[in-house]
Symmetry: C2
Subunit: 190 residues, 2 copies
Amino acid sequence: MVDKLISHINGICLLNGEEIEIVKELVREKDVPRKHFVHRAGEIAQYSAFILEGCLRSYTIDQNGFEHILQFAPENWWISDMYSFVKQTPSELNIDALLDSKVLILSRDCQLRIFDRIPKLERYFRVLTENALASSNHRTLDYLSLPAKVRYQKFCDLYPTLINTLPQKQIASYIGITPEFLSKLRGERS
Amino acid sequence: MVDKLISHINGICLLNGEEIEIVKELVREKDVPRKHFVHRAGEIAQYSAFILEGCLRSYTIDQNGFEHILQFAPENWWISDMYSFVKQTPSELNIDALLDSKVLILSRDCQLRIFDRIPKLERYFRVLTENALASSNHRTLDYLSLPAKVRYQKFCDLYPTLINTLPQKQIASYIGITPEFLSKLRGERS
DNA sequence: CTTATTTCTTAACCTATATTAAGAAATCGA
DNA sequence: TCGATTTCTTAATATAGGTTAAGAAATAAG
């Protein structure tokens, strides 16, 4: 199963046999059944997870008890609380599985050590992080400039897979509206 | 003036004399008077800019002609259209100076070549990008979960310098409200 | 210093989205 | 398979924040 990660890395920078072995040693496979957590708010994020199967999400719970989804992570995505993972401070995010899932976990320690042994992996994570930042910027601009309906349409275009596998209320939470309002938007003609 | 960049890099990973020389060669100093552009929507982002003095911003203009600010970049920050810079596709952002400014510019070409010659700089940019992503995530969650007034208060706490140097309308644009509404919030007691 | 331009404030009115509630549909768990 | 739980829909009502407009204050430019 680790092969899935290896091919993902190879899509960005080619690893030789020795390097592949090192990666295999540092990463640990883990089953995450639906609704189980990989990380809870209040803890320091020790791990970043690469999704082999299924789908996880990260989210906060606000003062009124409402969930707000920061990220969905389907197959071949990484998920973590970047802030807590990088700064090693207590996190405000929860990360759990929306579907029965299988992931690889990598600790921050291992990641930093791996960067010294295999500089190519520093490149791999630099590229991933650049892409994530570019997407995040796009999302920010969408909030600033587009009404909910258009944000929903863009979500459908961007993540067609998720539309069919996730409950609507999760999508509403991601695009920043209530499930009731999303239902209304979907009911509208045109 | 390049020394300012060198000390910023040294805050993350120490460069030796030779490496410092390489950086000095690859970067170009540029004056950017207030209201002048370093980048315009529609073009491919060739450069990333490090601010030596002053303050720049990146923003889109929506269909109705309203500006929405993605980022402020005061001294010691980098600014670019990450998406266009990384993917080398036409950009939707403008970048201009809010105050008379002085910057260093680095082309994407140079940056990629520099990564091969000085892997430490790949680390430098990885760390910067991780931090930027963590902040961007925070901002996203703030939009999802907090009312405008609280977002404004957090902005004041986070960027006290900008509060005093920038017109309020720019700040309103950054936190995602109209200048009129910000004015109203500021007028409220408590 | 004086005028022109930009920014800020206030207020009346408007709209996108939230809230509450309740029943219907779908999915889950035993 | 069947009851329990979760999700979805609809509709009435409420509100945060937007729009428009016009004058005041501040800042820039000549």
